[in-house]
């Protein structure tokens, strides 16, 4: 019997998208299906955040092209959008920072929604907001949960020494959450079980098995 409330989710995928492929788009669909099948989540938005030119990966074409292709690939999607912020930054931005940026953006968007009310309602809302001024619980409950969407390679990269800051990993899996798309059966679980940090936050790591690749 399910008496829990449903958490709304926004999926964020960072990466080169060099170029964006059907598999990238399928990843979003797989993640959404998986989360919604648990009965605990509702995925409302997907964000593609291509990396900037500052990443300096061999063969990485200019961000403007990668963004344009991603835009074309998602122009018929009702829920997946492309975000330019990361690519506009002069230097490479750490994934944790990109997540934090989008989290802030989502929080602000929630707050702005209140301001769209007509005059009749704003007075009532102002009273309510003052009442809840002390606690930010109300706002946090209403804003969607931001989760990082990635492949198993990203999860496993958490184990590479000096690749990630430990506090960043803790923030990503502890505060936000990870949806990890994998082809190789239970290998991500092996990795989760062998890492103290990931084991602690295992409930925030959602492993999605890719079946029958095209």
């Amino acid at each position: 019997m399910e008496t829990h409330s449903i958490t709304t989710v926004v999926l964020l995928a960072c990466g080169s998208f060099n170029p964006i492929t059907n598999m990238h788009l399928r990843m979003f669909e797989l993640a959404r299906d998986h989360l919604e099948d648990t009965g605990q989540y509702r995925v409302v938005k997907g964000i593609i955040s291509p990396v900037g030119d500052g990443y300096k990966k061999k063969g990485l074409i200019e961000a403007c092209h990668r963004l344009e292709m991603a835009k074309l690939a998602t122009e018929n999607s009702g829920w997946i959008t492309v975000d330019y912020w990361e690519s506009l930054q002069p230097e490479w931005v750490e994934t944790a920072k990109v997540i934090r940026h989008h989290h802030e953006k989502l929080l602000t968007a929630e707050q702005n929604n209140d301001e769209v009310d007509t005059v009749k309602y704003t007075k009532k809302r102002r009273i309510e907001e003052n009442y809840f001024e002390g606690s930010s619980h109300q706002k946090r409950r209403d804003s969607p949960q931001l989760m990082l969407l990635c492949g198993a390679d990203v999860l496993e990269s958490f184990g590479i020494p000096n690749m990630w800051k430990q506090e960043d990993i803790a923030e990503i899996v502890g505060r936000f959450g990870l949806v990890c798309i994998t082809r190789s059966g239970n290998d991500p679980y092996k990795f989760i079980h062998q890492s103290d940090m990931l084991w602690t936050y295992r409930k925030n790591i959602h492993v999605v098995h890719r079946v029958g690749d095209q």
Partner: protein
């Protein structure tokens, strides 16, 4: 018997798996083999669900290790997988709630209604056995009598077919009604999906221990789901089943796998394996798969006597 009348089954096994042994895998393989041999079932998957750490059994190693060992044991299997849901919960889960969790998940994933063993459905849905008279569309002779009913059934099946990801086979055939109108009817293959609890005779025996299981849970496990028992060492399953009123009541939902008792695997157990490890007994290679043994040695598990 055609594929359409077979029940598709998922075998779910709950337990400590402390550690998982070759015997456990053998249990899955034997059950699948037997179910296929009866001609009534197709086993489409096996799930190993290790118990939560808070189960409190002495000598139970961390679920981190038990999950990893289970995964190592099934890494070369193409149909058995390990599910960490139970271990990931905040506390111990009853067998009943694990079965229900997987059923509810399958329902949402496939859009199918999983049949309860004894509950016939009054609405035509994918997955309900038709054990009464065959549907009218199956007989060309009857078709001219009720063309409207056939068209309605076709429409219902079509929308159900859309939500169900288990693509049923469709037969289309044309017919002529009493007004000489040409129509098309569709007949869908019905897929019945069931989750059965897979266990050894020790679990069956435990049903007879007063107070160990909640009666309502047993009603659900045996009555709504069903059990596949792979008896091990000379256990008399008939006697066990006669001992419990609930087991007697749902006798038809208990499938006992024959010919499993005299196999060398029948003597393997986690307890024997732990003892062998503690005493440095080389027989452990008969009980546990090599990757599991390697992991145990590397993680220094089961060194001290316990359980």
């Amino acid at each position: 018997m055609t594929e359409t009348t077979k029940t598709h089954v998922i075998l779910l096994s709950c337990g400590s798996f402390n550690p998982i042994t070759k015997g456990h895998i053998h249990m899955f393989e034997k059950a699948r083999e037997y179910l296929h041999k009866t001609g009534r079932f197709i086993v489409i998957g096996g799930i190993i669900s290790p118990v939560h750490d808070s189960y409190g059994k002495p000598g139970l190693v961390s679920s981190r290790h038990r999950l990893t060992m289970c995964q190592l044991a099934v890494q070369s299997s193409d149909w058995i997988r390990v599910d960490p849901w139970e271990c990931y919960q905040d506390t111990w889960q009853t067998t009943c709630s694990v079965l229900e969790h997987h059923r509810d998940l399958m329902k949402r994933v496939t859009g199918c209604i999983l049949s309860n063993v004894n509950t016939p459905s009054t609405t035509p849905v994918i997955g309900q056995p038709q054990n009464q008279t065959p549907p009218i569309y199956q007989s060309h002779n009857n078709m001219n009598h009720k063309p409207t009913a056939i068209k309605l059934w076709g429409k219902i099946s079509e929308s159900l077919g859309k939500i169900c990801c288990v693509r049923p086979h469709v037969d289309r055939f044309t017919f002529v009604d009493e007004n000489a109108n040409l129509g098309t009817a569709m007949r869908y293959e019905e897929i019945e999906l069931r989750i059965l609890l897979l266990c050894g005779s020790d679990l069956l025996e435990s049903f007879c221990i007063p107070g160990l299981w909640k009666d309502s849970d047993m009603e659900v496990i045996v009555g709504d789901f069903g059990i596949v028992v792979v008896p091990r060492d000379g256990a008399d399953t008939e006697r066990i089943m006669n001992h419990s009123s609930i087991l007697r009541k749902y006798k038809d939902n208990i499938i006992v796998v024959k010919d499993a008792t005299n196999h060398p695997m029948a003597i393997v157990s986690s307890t024997k394996s732990r003892l062998a490890l503690q005493h440095g007994d080389g027989h452990v290679v008969d009980y546990l798969s090599q990757p599991v043994i390697d992991y145990i040695l590397q993680s220094q598990l089961y060194i001290n006597a316990s359980g």
